[in-house]
């Protein structure tokens, strides 16, 4: 189970990183989101993978590690804020520069028009 989990995390990270390396803003934002999922899974697993563990204190003996959960919970919300900011920034960049290239696309405007 552990190896399966690790492989999944690795594949998701690789997918996210590949998209982050693209040249247009939207795939980069999608890649960031994908990477943050992977990172969250990674961080979450730092407490070990607990099946049927308790998170509510009611006298049971096997508890899931609550600390990574709390950290990941905030990470999820922060990740959302970051995604939102990045995508709005991308919109603004497109509005101000007329294209959606990550580098602001100096001289690439025409190409975008032709290819779309």
């Amino acid at each position: 189970m552990e190896s399966l989990y690790a492989i999944t995390t690795g594949v998701l990270s690789a997918c996210g990183l590949y998209l982050i390396l693209r040249g247009r803003t939207f795939p980069v934002v999608v890649g960031l989101t994908l990477l943050s999922y992977a990172v969250n899974l990674f961080l979450f697993s730092m407490g070990g993978l607990t099946t049927d563990g308790a998170t509510i204190i009611d006298g049971k003996t096997t508890y899931a590690d609550p600390l990574p959960q709390a950290l990941v919970l905030t990470a999820i919300v922060i990740g959302f804020a970051m995604t939102a900011f990045a995508v709005i920034l991308a919109m603004r960049a497109r509005g101000d520069m007329g294209n959606d290239h990550v580098d602001g696309g100096r001289g690439r405007d025409e190409r975008e028009e032709n290819r779309r």
Partner: protein, 940 residues
């Protein structure tokens, strides 16, 4: 404590003119002078204690880990310099009162001037090397402001920049020198440093230390080869020149050499370097002073020359030489400040400083003529004036202290040469301005300045004469104190005008006679020199600066090509290298914890997750499909959390997922629907290889952690959650209680992100396509009936659920984050179904205050615990009994959680509703001419 006030009062004085700009000039000048005057009086009151042989100290720790103390001392040397800085500073304030034109911003000018004064006082009183350095840099900065005060003039800007570059670079060298001293001695405390002269001299790093410190001092005091900045700093208003370049800033380097004399001097290296550089500077400056035709230019080079003179004396370093150096510091400050003021008056009243356009001014300005003549005579070293005394002492010292072995005769000869030149340029200054018949009339008809404007000059000129006549009575006591501070031992000396007929007197006589002759001949000399091409130090300096900037730019351009892809690529490559290095060092990847078995559900889940992740990448050029795939990943991640006993996470992930996908869809509406195929195949393969390698590294890391035993600190939270936090849901208790500070920071970030997005969307104009990529028009039914009905019905239900989730959060899965997200999702659904306008008419409140209230509420909860004497964010809880309802629990953590709830709702809606609003004003409707082209034409 008094010491602190002496140093602090001028610093506080900076505020007076800065805020007193509304005052009339008279009041402003008086108010400006008040605090420095008070500091001067305070210092004078301390002198009796000094006479008893004490050194006064004041110290408070500032940054102990760096060895930085806020430490001040008052000894004879500080008193001498403080007298010059504060005394002449006050005269300058009076002078500037008349000098500045009425429309000039005198408040700002005074503020700079006092800032400079305060930093100089700091230098001379600092009892800690680092503190001294701090003030040292402050003088560089404030003098930059002062020199560039007339910032509309190009020469002022360039002069200021040059002064800052030279003295600032010198300051860095000085810092390095101080750090070395601190390393050798083991302390930055002034007394310890001064007492460790032998240790420093014996250390192998001594030459380097000395070179660095002298570099700083020479740059500041305009010693050869850094003399070039001083004449260009003359672009400053004359009060500034009179202050900075006579009494203070350029003396800072001299002061430093005097202050560190016990620690650094006494080696042959010191003597040779310092005295030779000083001698070069002295002769060089004197020569150019004779050649200049601008009044202030002459004074600037003569200052360079006199600074050289003092440096020679400090270099020689015998007790009498030190005495002479200190004496000349006083003398030079008095006559040079007077001369600068005189040149300012002439400039002010005659409209020019060019010698060729001046002449015969003694009739129009008799008082100024007399005062300038007195100060000029002192500068030339005419007997019965103060300059004569210290110059004689220089001659005597160069004769008595052989430092060049067989070439020792060179020093007195060069000193006499300097003396000759100094007589010649002083004579020229006085004669050409006041006595020679004018060649052409000056631009303005000259007349005497206001009486109070000459008063400071008159006072200084009187001092020149009085000190010249009664040296022991007027300067003896002060010099006694100061030499004691420099030599760390009392010195027997007697200042007298007449020492009998001896060699120094003969040298003086030679200097006088030869100087007068030289002036008589200097017209011929000038004619001869006209054949040489003049070298403008400023052009050389500017050219080298520009070359430097150009090279830096070229280098930067090579490193930074403004491509995000490249930066990210390099960053990933670097992290891959580090991770690979770490993994390579591990004995084995797998740990000793046995793996748990895999079942069918897990396998299916993992396969789906991997599939959807890959699908997101494969379809990334078709953005909508890619987004759908991404949402699948999100949902599966949420299920993963649920599977591994994290209900809170599953709920959060689920609601965030909904919000994220809605947001991305909305954004996609404004962005191109497809990504063009841009990357070449090799490039795609390269990126894929990099991403794949990193993915493998991450998987390996994850596997390595998962198969090892992990002892966690969570037991503490599990044990204390109920007893300490009053909640059974440990995750929520960690969020709102144990690690509440983190959460506070996090909701602050969330609110800030919301605000930033709000600003980014402000006045954003984007084109909106009429149709999708296939050319199909959008659905004409904007608000589908089923969706509107359901969303409206769902809203109260969702709010109820969110309230429930919120309330139970402390003890069961839920809490502020999840409840906030649920509320936000319900509201967003309504916005989608009915449109922003409809919703706004009914839910008319701005979202920014909601988010800010949330953060504020959480902060206040934290602050509230202070009222009860507990640390920030301490929570408290209690159980209460209400009839009918029963027992229930109240915790302050709940108020905190309410803050979290509000912040999440506010920030989320701020992001989404504002984005939604962008669509409304000019959203294409059905009536618009339908576009049939495959791509919507951009209308912006």
């Amino acid at each position: 404590m008094t010491l602190l006030w002496i140093a602090l009062l001028p610093l506080l004085g900076v505020l007076v003119p800065a805020f007193g700009a509304g005052l009339r000039r008279r009041e402003c000048s008086l108010a400006t002078a008040a605090l420095p005057a008070l500091a001067l009086l305070l210092m004078l009151a301390e002198i009796p204690a000094l006479l008893d042989g004490e050194t006064l100290r004041f110290a408070v720790d500032w940054i102990p880990s760096l060895g930085l103390e806020l430490a001040f001392r008052l000894d004879g040397l500080s008193v001498l310099f403080n007298l010059l800085i504060l005394g002449i500073g006050l005269l300058i304030v009076l002078y500037a009162h008349y000098y500045l034109a009425p429309e000039e911003p005198y408040g700002r000018f005074y503020a700079y001037l006092i800032l400079f004064m305060a930093s100089m006082v700091g230098i001379v009183m600092a009892d800690n090397l680092l503190l001294l350095w701090l003030f040292w840099e402050l003088t560089s900065l404030s003098s930059f402001l002062l020199i560039g005060f007339w910032s509309h003039r190009s020469d002022a800007r360039k002069g200021a920049r040059m002064a800052l570059a030279v003295t600032g670079a010198g300051g860095l060298a000085l810092l390095a020198g101080f750090l070395l001293i601190g390393d050798i001695v083991g302390s930055y405390d002034m007394d310890t440093v001064l007492a460790s002269g032998e240790t420093i001299l014996a250390d192998p790093r001594y030459p380097l230390t000395l070179a660095l410190v002298l570099l700083g001092a020479f740059a500041k005091s305009a010693q050869f080869p850094f003399q070039f900045w001083l004449p260009h700093a003359m672009a400053a208003p004359t009060p500034v020149s009179a202050y900075l370049h006579s009494a203070t800033m350029v003396k800072a380097g001299i002061f430093l050499m005097a202050r560190l004399h016990p620690a650094l001097a006494g080696s042959e290296l010191w003597t040779l370097t310092v005295s030779l550089i000083g001698m070069t500077t002295m002769v060089y400056g004197a020569w150019f002073a004779l050649m200049k035709t601008d009044l202030k230019g002459i004074l600037a080079f003569s200052t360079v020359s006199h600074l050289g003179l003092i440096t020679v004396l400090l270099g020689i370093g015998s007790p009498m030489a030190v005495l002479a150096a200190l004496f000349h510091i006083i003398n030079h400050a008095t006559f040079k400040a007077a001369l600068f003021m005189g040149s300012g008056i002439i400039d002010h009243e005659a409209g020019t400083r060019e010698l060729s356009r001046l002449g015969g001014l003694r009739r129009a300005m008799p008082l100024t003529a007399v005062l300038t003549t007195i100060a000029g005579a002192a500068m030339a070293g005419v007997p019965l004036f103060n300059g004569f005394l210290s110059k004689e002492m220089l001659f005597a010292e160069t004769l008595h202290t052989p430092i060049l072995g067989g070439l020792s005769w060179l020093m007195p000869v060069l000193a006499t040469a300097g003396g000759v030149l100094s007589v010649a340029y002083s004579l020229r200054l006085v004669h050409a301005v006041f006595f020679k018949a004018p060649k052409q009339a000056p631009p303005k008809t000259p007349h005497e300045p206001p009486r109070l404007m000459s008063a400071p000059m008159a006072l200084l000129a009187a001092l020149c004469v009085l000190v010249g006549l009664f040296p022991s009575a007027l300067a003896g006591g002060l010099l006694d104190l100061a030499t004691r501070a420099v030599l760390l031992a009392p010195l027997e000396f007697h200042l007298a005008i007449w020492h009998g007929v001896n060699l120094p007197l003969a040298m003086s006589a030679v200097a006088l006679v030869a100087g007068v002759t030289l002036y008589a001949l200097h017209a011929h000399l000038r004619r001869f020199l006209r054949g040489f091409k003049p070298v403008d130090a400023r052009l050389i300096f500017e050219a080298s600066m520009q070359r430097l900037a150009l090279r830096a730019e070229r280098l930067l351009g090579r490193l930074d090509n403004a491509s995000l892809q490249r930066y990210v690529g390099l960053l990933l490559l670097a992290s891959l290298a580090f991770v690979a290095l770490g993994l390579g060092r591990m004995p084995s990847l797998a740990g000793d914890v046995p793996q748990q078995p895999v079942d069918g559900v897990l396998l299916t889940g993992a396969a789906l997750l991997i599939f959807s992740g890959l699908a997101t990448v494969v379809t990334h050029r078709y953005r909508l499909i890619s987004l759908l795939m991404l949402s699948m990943v999100g949902l599966l991640v949420s299920l993963t959390f649920a599977r591994f006993s994290a209900p809170d996470l599953a709920l959060t992930q689920l609601s965030v997922e909904v919000v994220t996908i809605i947001l991305l869809m909305l954004a996609l509406f404004f962005l191109p629907q497809k990504t063009p195929r841009e990357s070449s195949l090799p490039r795609s393969l390269r990126d894929a290889a990099l991403a794949g390698a990193l993915g493998m590294a991450i998987a390996s890391l994850n596997y390595a952690v998962l198969t090892r035993d992990n002892a966690s600190i969570s037991d503490f939270f599990l044990d204390n959650s109920v007893s300490g936090g009053g909640g059974h849901n440990v995750v929520n208790v960690i969020l709102v209680d144990f690690r509440g500070f983190d959460t506070l920071g996090e909701i602050t970030v969330l609110a800030i992100a919301g605000l930033a997005i709000f600003k980014l969307l402000n006045r954003l104009r984007l084109f909106m396509p009429h149709s999708d990529t296939e050319g199909r028009l959008w659905c004409p039914d904007r608000y589908p009936m089923i969706l509107t009905t359901i969303s409206q019905a769902l809203l109260p239900l969702a709010l109820l659920v969110s309230a429930f989730i919120f309330l139970r959060g402390h003890n069961l899965p839920g809490g502020g984050f999840i409840a906030g997200l649920i509320t936000a999702v319900a509201l967003i659904l309504l916005l989608i179904a009915r449109g922003v306008e409809w919703a706004q008419a009914r839910l008319d409140f701005p979202y920014q205050p909601v988010a800010i209230t949330g953060v504020g509420l959480a902060t206040l909860t934290g602050l509230g615990s202070w009222l009860f004497g507990h640390p920030f964010l301490t929570s408290s809880f209690g159980h209460f009994h209400l009839p009918l309802i029963g027992d229930f629990e109240l915790a302050t953590a709940m108020i905190f959680d309410l803050g979290v709830y509000l912040a999440v709702v506010g920030a989320t809606l701020m992001i989404l509703a504002n984005l939604g609003k962008v669509t409304t004003p000019h959203r294409p409707v059905k009536d618009d001419a339908p576009s049939t082209t495959s791509s919507g034409k951009e209308k912006r």
